[in-house]
């Protein structure tokens, strides 16, 4: 029978591996969430004045993707350090749900609406939901260590 023993994971046998992954994870989400926030703030009508949301989306999209890629590479590695703990952790499970919704939302509704340069209520709702989703991902991630 194959049983995964986390103590054999190189991550758990090096003092620096885990914090380094976490630092990259933080930098990754700052890239992705920060760039998404630039579009969201524009949709909310409180962001940059001289660019349209479609323009901001187009400009920030590659860097959002870079951030997401870093997040999605470091996250599973962090998870691999202690899978059973994470799977049992309610905050982790909530985070995975919120993350899935946030990513799907970002590349469907959010993208479509930002491209259409909405004015008023539609932009406010779509930008607001996006910010809420991503902030809930950050909060749930941090609370993994506290529940």
């Amino acid at each position: 029978m194959l049983v995964y023993d986390p103590s054999t994971n190189p991550l758990n046998n090096n003092d620096w591996a885990f914090p380094l992954l976490e630092i990259l994870h933080i930098a990754g989400f700052a890239f992705s969430i920060g760039t998404i926030a630039i579009v969201d703030l524009k949709l909310l009508g409180i962001g940059m004045r001289n660019q349209s949301s479609a323009q901001l989306l187009k400009d920030t999209m590659p860097w959002t993707l870079v951030g997401l890629a870093v997040m999605l590479m470091t996250g599973p590695l962090i998870f691999s350090s202690d899978p059973n703990m994470y799977l049992r952790n309610e905050s982790f499970r909530f985070k995975m749900g919120a993350l899935l919704i946030a990513i799907l939302y970002n590349y469907t509704i959010h993208r479509k609406v930002a491209k259409s340069n909405p004015s008023g209520a539609l932009g406010v709702v779509v930008g607001g939901v996006s910010l809420l989703l991503w902030v809930s991902v950050v909060f749930a991630g941090l609370f993994i260590a506290f529940v």
Partner: protein
């Protein structure tokens, strides 16, 4: 009064004690610290990468740097306020923590960076837009800024890994 005594006193204040002993407020402040970091990080990233000519080249440097500035400031204010409270709540631990002092040293360098480049680069974007190519000092400022903030994030995370040897 020694510096250690000051840190011990800070930790013993009512607000620091309440924060340290609360099971929910402490992680909420920490999560807000992280959320502020996401906002601030994104703004710094785009600001500095525009100075490097890597992003939003269809918009002027003035538009990008000026447009992101209020949110950059807001993100920094949010992150710093939460960070100060987190440090106060465990001030004595921070006093003994070399990563905390490394982080503070980098903050001093951030201030030096601002003194050197604020007027010549970040508040001088109209001139940068008029220049045929982005001036070297703007690119140096951007690289240093990105490196400093990445260092600050790194030392910040490492603070949590330091153990005081008995």
């Amino acid at each position: 009064m020694t510096l250690l005594a000051i840190f011990q006193w800070l930790q013993s204040t009512e607000v620091a004690t309440a924060l340290r002993e609360s099971s929910w407020v402490y992680p909420i402040v920490m999560a807000t610290h992280l959320s502020g970091m996401a906002l601030f990080g994104g703004m710094i990233l785009i600001t500095d990468m525009r100075l490097l000519g890597l992003v939003m080249r269809g918009s002027t440097v003035s538009d990008v740097v000026g447009g992101l500035r209020p949110w950059k400031h807001f993100g920094l204010l949010l992150t710093a306020t939460c960070g100060i409270f987190l440090a106060l709540s465990k001030a004595e631990f921070y006093y003994h923590n070399p990563f905390f002092w490394c982080k503070l040293a980098l903050f001093l360098l951030v201030i030096v960076h601002a003194l050197v480049f604020r007027n010549s680069v970040y508040r001088n974007t109209a001139a940068i837009d008029r220049a045929p190519v982005i001036p070297a000092n703007a690119k140096v400022a951007a690289c240093l800024s990105l490196a400093l903030w990445l260092g600050i994030v790194s030392f910040g995370r490492l603070i949590g890994y330091y153990e005081i040897k008995p």
